[in-house]
């Protein structure tokens, strides 16, 4: 199985297979029937004047998939929703990226897209918080804002005329991310939701599920403009803040490993599931470093299978 390079023993293998099989049986048949591979013909009613969307093309009057994925139909639109693929940006997506280059008036970010994304200096709030024209001095000081390899959270602004992708970070919640872990998972595991920023108060941890599959787990940052009231205060508080409590660090790791396990098993990453998995590991006394061991994978898969089965039962019961 992909990304799972584990040494399972015999019982674990059987259990994992059973769990995965269970998952398969829980999936509605329609979903697997809609799966297509490259060059499969997508059956459509030609009279419907359908719109051919993403991942399709027209060959001799037939709608043919150009990707592997699941056929989705929304009114007249027919498109193929890919599973494993690079990130496809949509305006307003919240993403996490990493600075790879500083260019004139802009940063270039790697965001798992087919090109590097651009964050213009003008598209972000300055540290001083004042809205004004960017000066040459600001340009020279860009590096003091974001350096290479910094992890940044931003929002997709849109495509420019030249086809490049632009980001913006005009909010307090965006900006540099520190003291945490960046995890990269396939983008299809992150569903677009209302909320991508999560403050997990019980752990004192921030969890950002970037739409591009970059996931940030880091120490909670208090968004409080009063903190930087004076220079002196900032300095002393910096020192204090540089110290992340061990407990928090353990939580970060536990959550990060939960994300790793779930993404390796190919489960959609939701806050609830991540927390549940982390809790489960804690409650069953699995050490942080043992979470990536075979046993925990199997347990997670079994738990997920059970959860979905319950969900289904509830749904059917409600009906």
């Amino acid at each position: 199985m992909r990304d799972l390079h584990l040494s399972l023993n015999q019982t674990q293998r059987v259990r994992l297979e059973a769990a995965l099989h269970e998952l398969q049986s829980l999936t509605p048949a329609a979903a697997s029937a809609a799966a297509v591979t490259v060059a499969d013909t997508i059956p459509v009613n030609q009279e419907d004047n359908i719109l051919k969307g993403h991942g399709t093309s027209d060959q001799d009057g037939e709608v043919v998939a150009t990707l592997c994925g699941v056929v989705e139909r929304v009114n007249k639109l027919v498109y193929v929703r890919t599973l494993r693929a690079r990130y496809k940006p949509e305006v307003g997506d919240i993403i996490v990226g990493r600075v790879i280059e500083i260019a004139p008036k802009r940063w270039r970010l790697e965001i798992n897209f087919s090109q590097d994304a651009v964050l213009m200096l003008s598209s972000m709030n300055l540290p001083d918080g004042i809205q004004r024209r960017r000066t040459a001095v600001d340009e020279l000081n860009m590096r003091s804002i974001f350096e290479e390899n910094d992890v940044i959270c931003a929002e997709v602004r849109g495509f420019q005329h030249d086809g490049s992708l632009h980001l913006q970070a005009r909010s307090e919640k965006y900006g540099k991310l520190e003291r945490g872990q960046l995890l990269t998972v396939p983008p299809y595991l992150v569903k677009r939701k209302k909320q991508h920023f999560h403050h997990l108060a019980q752990y004192d941890v921030d969890l950002i599920l970037g739409c591009n599959g970059f996931i940030w787990v880091g120490e909670h940052v208090v968004v409080d403009e009063k903190v930087k009231a004076t220079e002196d205060q900032q300095k002393s508080s910096d020192e204090a803040e540089n110290f992340t409590p061990l407990e928090t660090r353990k939580h970060i790791c536990r959550l990060a490993n939960a994300v790793r396990v779930l993404s390796a098993l190919g489960f959609t990453l939701t806050v609830e599931l991540i927390i549940e998995t982390a809790e489960a590991s804690a409650s069953s006394n699995v050490e942080v470093n043992d979470m990536l061991g075979a046993e925990f994978y199997v347990q997670t898969a079994e738990r997920e299978a059970k959860r979905r089965a319950d969900l289904l039962r509830k749904k059917n019961g409600a009906r």
């Binding site: 390079h5 799966a35 297509v36 060059a39 990707l67 994925g69 599973l83 494993r84 959609t268």
Partner: protein, 242 residues
Amino acid sequence: MEYVDPLTGFRVDGRRPNEMRKLKGEVGVVARADGSALFEMGNTRVIAAVYGPREVQNKGQQVNSKEALVRCEYRMAEFSTGDRRRKPKGDRRSTEISLVIRQTMEASILTHLMPRSQIDIFVQVLQADGGTRSACINAATLALADAGIPMRDIVTSCSAGYLCSTPLLDLNYLEDSAGGADVTVGILAKMDKVTLLQMDAKLAMDTFENVMGLAIEGCKAIATYIREVLLENTKRLECQRG
């Protein structure tokens, strides 16, 4: 030497002339790559990894910013053959095969959908037993599909040869080195178009047509298999995703 037993009609390894070796395809074998695949045709085993589409690394190589740049690197692992010789990187044969694979895959990738980007395909022969070229193309197709790169069609390749006055499908190393003609064909399976045709040695025109026909049949069989692998993989991902 008799490569086809005149009495039983079997080839040296027990296949019939029109039979392929055992195929095995597996996607997602390289964690870091965007798409990857392992493909086996009998004892020939190759691994392919696809990175991209991603930002063009060397802008000088970009010919047309409206289309994705496809690059390919083919390499034989030192341990892939019986004699462990250190092969210099970028020898003629590797360069040629890299080019062949690149051109074949380029014919299928919808490069115009991924402007200003590049796609890197790395194929490595882990074990060579004839037909590495074909196996590499098949592995690359799987890896590209795994990477979610839009393609016109499934590209598959298969070789066929002509020995003992019999067209033989999917030559292994022993048959390949027999000195007979070796025809490697790559096709777009659904569109039924040939994107690759190579032959060493000479063949009479009508024999050639038979041999090529056989190779195309082989390609189609491989295409069916590759689709199965991909579809199964897609379904599994979708199921697990929930």
